[in-house]
């Protein structure tokens, strides 16, 4: 019973504290990515900056790559997941489309 409750609480926590922002890349720097994000409710576009740390997982398609080797292009679609418990601006996961032709 307790284990079931813990599993339930765990599942809720995972969903409640991580948020994914989807948008297009404005610019990238060595350890930062600037993204144009459209708010789902207001439809307003805003610029958000996410820090890329050693813990950030960068996925190009299903492949884990190093941020510098991801070859992120300006205007490319991107999904950035942050963990509100840890930091509002540190990217936990960056997802990018698989390279064309694969």
């Amino acid at each position: 019973m307790l284990a079931a409750m813990m599993m339930w609480v765990s599942g809720t926590s995972l969903l409640a504290h991580e948020e994914t922002y989807k948008g297009t890349v404005i610019a990238t720097q060595t350890a930062k990515v600037q993204v144009s994000v459209i708010d789902d409710k207001t439809k307003k576009e805003s610029s958000m900056e996410f820090a890329v740390t050693a813990k950030t997982k960068v996925l190009r398609g299903d492949k884990v790559v190093v941020f510098a080797d991801a070859h992120i292009q300006k205007g490319e679609r991107i999904a950035v997941t942050v963990d509100h418990d840890a930091s509002m601006s540190n990217a936990v996961v960056i997802r990018l489309a698989a390279p064309a032709g694969r």
Partner: protein
């Protein structure tokens, strides 16, 4: 002889009353880090309470590729949500437990005997987030021993092994839908933004 005992009881009662008054309404949180003395005392208590024959028990499962792979699959499915695929404990759940999930690659875990690790998996640890996974069946025990083999392998995990574990991590229906929306968005579809 009697007087010191009386004073000891009085002092104990006084400390108890002070503790009750001071701690009332002071709040609590599972986010705080346990004091070093508390963590050390609890680890010592756990070791103290583990039966000697269990502590000395050797792992009956040999170190084979199959055993480690079995442990890896089991870990990815049952343990990673708190301990992380890499055993670091650096997950949303693991970080916010009290005490937080330990980094199992470090000596505090790696220096435990195989028997102690097996006992913790099977019996859990009271007043922590670690549940008892034991089923009391030979298959269940073998799975726990394979996990012990895998825990020994944690400090040497390869990138390829970590990627294979990600595919094995359980996903809730909501997470599956979330991933599908992201994939659709990234591939140029409208997706839900």
């Amino acid at each position: 002889m009697k007087r010191p005992i009386v004073w000891l009881v009085v002092a104990g009662l006084a400390m108890g009353i002070v503790a009750v008054v001071v701690t009332r309404g002071m709040g609590f949180s599972a986010r705080v880090t346990p004091w070093t003395i508390e963590a050390t005392a609890m680890r010592a208590a756990r070791r103290w309470a583990t039966p000697g024959d269990v502590r000395r028990q050797a792992n009956p499962v040999p170190t084979t590729y199959e055993a480690i792979e079995g442990g890896l699959k089991h870990w990815a499915d049952h343990c990673a949500s708190c301990h992380g695929n890499d055993g670091s404990g650096d997950t949303t759940v693991g970080r916010n437990l009290y005490p937080p999930a330990p980094d199992m690659r470090r000596p505090a875990t790696q220096e435990m005997t195989d028997g102690e690790l097996f006992y913790v998996i099977e019996r859990g640890v009271p007043l922590t987030g670690m549940p008892a996974w034991g089923t009391g069946t030979p298959d269940g025990e073998r799975a726990s021993w394979e996990l012990v083999r895998f825990i020994r392998h944690l400090p040497k995990l390869s990138g390829q092994e970590l990627r294979s574990m990600e595919a094995l991590n359980p996903k809730s229906p909501a997470e599956a839908v979330h991933k599908m929306e992201i994939d659709e968005f990234l591939s140029g579809g409208k997706g839900k933004q």
